[in-house]
């Protein structure tokens, strides 16, 4: 009985993931092309035109320095946006009810949507990495750290997107958080500069930005340089993931935004 329930749950999870991945690929013009275009522009303008005047940062050319930051920026944005728009869409079109009436437990629903966001995040990361390689050489100093940080970051922001979608009542609610919170935090999270360039006060303020830890851990994986301790970064990321997962599970169990 229990084994078959577990198997059934796994099949349900798999079904959500397939559905989500098919969605990402079906609307690739909305999901994969925009980050490729905007990141190419970032590389040309910031890395190429402006970067050549900036000189070195952290011991690397400016282009090489911002490449990991830009990859992370894309991962954060795309995993978040994927889940928030897909889950909100299923609420808006009422087909979330297909899942609600099924015996699939809520934690599996969360994991399924989360995995969809992770897959999109990783796909975009690969795409941007390939684009980056046209502009600069990237080493891979700590491959394991690089890969694990990128996946964990995608997990974290997928969960964030899910919570946003659970609360969202109209389409505007889907764009507010990415525009007013995510983008500023990303820009201030050390994507374009080392925080050592900032006055001490602003360095400390920057340390309150969780994205700083992810960007730097990822940069450490690729270039071997970081503004912060890697252990701290992992601890913060894992803590956030745990918190967001529990919170989203609680929301779904309560039926927030889904059941009246």
């Amino acid at each position: 009985m229990h084994v078959s329930r577990l198997r059934a749950n796994y099949i349900g999870f798999q079904t959500i993931v397939i559905k989500e991945v098919v969605r990402v690929l079906r609307i690739w013009i909305q999901t994969l092309v925009p980050p490729a275009i905007s990141m190419t522009l970032y590389f040309i303008i910031f890395g190429g035109l402006i970067g050549s005047r900036v000189g070195q940062m952290g011991g690397y050319s400016y282009m090489a320095y911002i490449a990991p930051g830009l990859i992370m920026m894309s991962v954060i944005n795309n995993s978040y946006v994927n889940v928030v728009s897909s889950f909100f869409g299923s609420k808006f079109g009422h087909y979330i009810e297909e899942l609600q009436v099924s015996p699939l437990p809520n934690y599996m629903i969360i994991l399924g949507y989360m995995m969809g966001g992770v897959v999109r995040g990783i796909l975009v990361a690969i795409l941007i990495t390939i684009i980056a390689l046209f502009f600069t050489r990237l080493h891979l100093v700590h491959p394991l750290i690089t890969v694990s940080v990128v996946i964990l970051t995608a997990v974290l922001f997928s969960l964030g997107g899910l919570i946003n979608a659970i609360y969202a009542k109209k389409f505007d609610d889907v764009t507010i958080i990415p525009t007013f919170i995510l983008t500023p935090l990303t820009y201030l999270g050390g994507v374009f500069y080392s925080i050592h360039l900032l006055p001490v006060f602003w360095q400390n303020v920057s340390r309150l930005d969780p994205i700083l830890y992810m960007v730097n851990a990822f940069r450490y994986g690729i270039l071997g340089v970081s503004d912060i301790g890697i252990g701290t970064a992992y601890a913060i990321i894992l803590l956030f993931i745990l918190g967001l997962f529990c919170f989203s599970l609680w929301l779904l169990n309560k039926g927030v935004g889904l059941r009246s």
Partner: protein
Amino acid sequence: MQALSIHGLTKTYGNGVVALKGIDFEVGKGEFTALLGPNGAGKTTTIGIITSLVNKTAGTVKVFDYDIDTHMDLAKSCIGLVPQEINFNQFEKPFDIVVNQAGFYGIPRKLGKQRAEKYLKQLSLWDKHDDISRNLSGGMKRRLMIARALVHEPKLLILDEPTAGVDIEIRRSMWDFLKKINKEGITIILTTHYLEEAENLCRRVAIIDHGEIIVQGRTRELLEKLRTETFVLNLRKPLAQLPPLDGYAVTQVDDTTLEVEVSKSQNINTLFELLSKDDVQVLSMRNKVNRLEELFVRLVEGKG
């Protein structure tokens, strides 16, 4: 064991609307039951609670003895739902919609595909299985939702106004299909505004209005009861003994008042002949209307 057993179910929505005022509702295994009621009676709310789309305020719901409070997943596995409103992703293909639903119920993909083909064929949708479902007609969309509801082969199929906005021909073929799968053993509950639909399909019916179940029982008996009229007769003289009135159900309310049930096929003249033969003189007569009849008239006239 009942397929569905509901006790003291109440629902008050967040905005204060009391949609259900404590309903008791039982559906036996293998039955075909209609939940008949006008707009806003509480049909969709009831179904929403059974299928965990709506939170209940109080009461118990058991599906094949699985309490939805304690054995939610087992209860859900028994139910297939065809909702009132379209609730599939209209940008997906019918085949994918049905296959994915099978997956959510834990059915392996290969088997899910076989079943999807089987049920889409049974509902005459196979030639559309690879189209974008947005392009299906209204009737096709409803049938798609029936195929989707059957893909995990539920023991209880619940349909919320499946024939609303469907033309006569398709409605009839839908009826035939539902009758067939009911014969094959699946318990069916459907909600409807149409007395005709309940009459044609359902052995049992529960009539709901303003969040209360007014009556439930065998459709035929209920209709018989509904198709009789009750007349209240005021008599000139007190009646010592009730005369024999063959074929009429008569009750004596008091000395000078009788209540007679007359079915629509009976001739009321005969009643008066029988009465005058026994020298009972009727002073006045009025038609007694009850709530059920009123509702019935509303349903028959299709005002909902």
